[in-house]
Symmetry: C2
Subunit: 348 residues, 2 copies
């Protein structure tokens, strides 16, 4: 390490100490080939001794690598910090990136006005790639990433079609089988004899929310299933407060409903609060099934029957896909869909 506050060591100083040319130092520092081991070792020693840190602005013009990856969550900070889904996904991403000595930079989106600024940063050569999740339909970020040529992996299938027409250039993403997870949840409720099954959805401009609603509808489409009823569908916006309000609206519209499938655990905990306030017993009067299997599911009272998706694992896979793309840009990679699995506890 250099002395704190001292002048920053230059490439020239390294060259002088090692007794070689600037060009040789530059080649060694940037991982270029064609330098003898003996010379390479001299440069390394001089770099260590002086505490030289290459200037990445200059360096990235040569190597085009920064050693950093942007993680963009298309939600405001208040949601990111209140929904355990994001912490869990970041945990998986963070571990994989750290293992590859790659710096994670977290960017959140407070309002639509932030999109342009974030797009500019992503396009500006400060990161080697991006991971983006919780995208909404109108979100311009995928197009911006596409336009800048920045390697990007999405969490959740982006509702966005690649327009370049290049082979293998479709969006690279990691998702769970949301439709199948929802089908499992609703079939479980049907198997327990429930007939009036409501659903609390996420924002339908997100593919995960739309896919789970589709799965709910498919499960209710069998010969023995009760008829679909649009009064049994309410949007809870993927938040606990939203789940609370949606449950109240559903009970007002269909007082004799006997089950609810909440498309996230956070919304399910909100629904439980409303059911308790209205004097409905869970699961005797109303069975409740959530989605995610994050910590709030096991802590809930009663503990939540839910659909498990491996959120941390999905984060890991996203990071690994991006690292592979960065290491070998020419090799085509495919989206990864992880399985969803019903976990039966006490609520339904």
């Amino acid at each position: 390490m250099s002395v704190p506050g001292g002048p920053r060591p230059t490439l020239e100083a390294v060259a002088a100490l090692a007794g070689v040319s600037r060009a040789t130092v530059s080649r060694v520092v940037n991982g270029g080939t064609g330098v003898r081991t003996e010379i390479r070792e001299k440069v390394r020693q001089a770099v260590d001794e002086l505490g030289y840190v290459p200037n990445s602005a200059a360096r990235s013009l040569v190597t085009r690598r920064t050693g950093a990856v942007a993680v963009v969550i298309a939600e405001p900070e208040t949601r990111v910090f209140s929904d355990p889904f994001f912490a869990q996904q970041l945990r998986g991403i963070g571990r994989e990136l750290a293992a590859a000595d790659t710096q994670l930079l977290l960017l959140m989106v407070e309002s639509d006005r932030d999109h342009e600024r974030i797009g500019r940063y992503l396009a500006g050569g400060h990161v080697d790639g991006a991971l983006m999740f919780s995208l909404h339909r109108a979100d311009p970020l995928p197009a911006m990433a596409g336009a800048s040529g920045l390697p990007t992996v999405f969490g959740g299938r982006p509702d966005w079609t690649d327009t370049t027409g290049r082979a293998g250039a479709g969006p690279l993403y990691v998702d769970t089988d949301n439709r199948d997870g929802a089908r499992q949840a609703v079939r479980h409720l049907l198997s327990r004899g429930r007939r009036r099954i409501a659903v609390i959805t996420g924002p339908l401009d997100q593919t995960s929310a739309q896919d789970r609603l589709d799965g709910y509808r498919e499960a209710l489409d069998g010969p023995d299933a009760p008829a679909a009823d649009e009064r049994l569908v309410a949007d809870g916006g993927f938040t606990a407060e939203g789940g609370e309000q949606a449950m109240a609206a559903l009970l007002d519209a269909v007082p004799d409903l006997d089950a609810v499938f909440a498309c996230s655990d956070l919304m399910a905990t909100g629904a439980l609060r409303t059911l308790r306030a209205r004097g409905r017993r869970v699961p005797q009067d109303v069975a409740v099934v959530g989605y995610d299997d994050l910590a709030p599911a096991a802590w809930a009272d009663p503990p939540l029957t839910t659909v498990r998706q491996d959120v941390e694992g999905m984060g890991r896979i996203m990071a690994r896909l991006l690292l592979r793309r960065l290491a070998a840009p020419g090799i085509p990679l495919s989206p990864v869909i992880t399985p969803a699995e019903l976990v039966v506890r006490e609520s339904g």
Copy 2:
């Protein structure tokens, strides 16, 4: 905006469309002077039409500005996402930076091995400045930021002495008067007739934790105060679980203690859990005072008497100081110490 997936427009294309030289485009894009308004307008129109985004790696070599600020929290992701203090501080920072059209990049520190990588990124020209908080004594990041010359503002007084000897070059930081806040808490307990007052501290390699312990000791140093007793001091590490365990250890060591000052609300909620489990009534048997006045304080059962610090406001001030330093590097700025204020609720 440019067409997604199309080739990225170049500086040359902008110059051709505007009918001016590359140098003129560069000067306008980088905010340089000496270009006629009429020409400037032509360049702006061409930039808009083509959706040109300047490459910041190249641009920052000229302007040395990236439009982004790093926020480094020297804690692992699990702590950052479980302690509402960080979300609140980030809210204040995020709002100020967004108002100044500056991008916030959040970096967390999972392990000591991350320091070097983060130091490299900070020194690499990818950000204009840094905000750092929750630093620990041995943390090398302040020295790294100092060595790189990166303008930095600290949250909490850094336990670090500037060694450059430049006038006005001492570390710039924002803090609350932790010592005074702790004194207020303990004096309040004394005024309620409590005599055996325990303290649950944060990690003592952080100045905020050490300052609060000092304030506790000062308040107990008066002529009427009970004698200090080292068995009444336990470290709770600023986490709820730590507060739970520290409270248990304190009750084992001094079964007749009648009050506890927990140096964070999170540790106070942990202490409340232990007291409930041990059958102690709060505040009748043991009075509890916390620190921070974040959401868990008002939600606690019973609601917490605590010391309020304006965490979001401190975040705002940190961001403003950094933006001022970036706008006018030569103007000396001083650390800001915000007041602490006792909030009396039911726990003590």
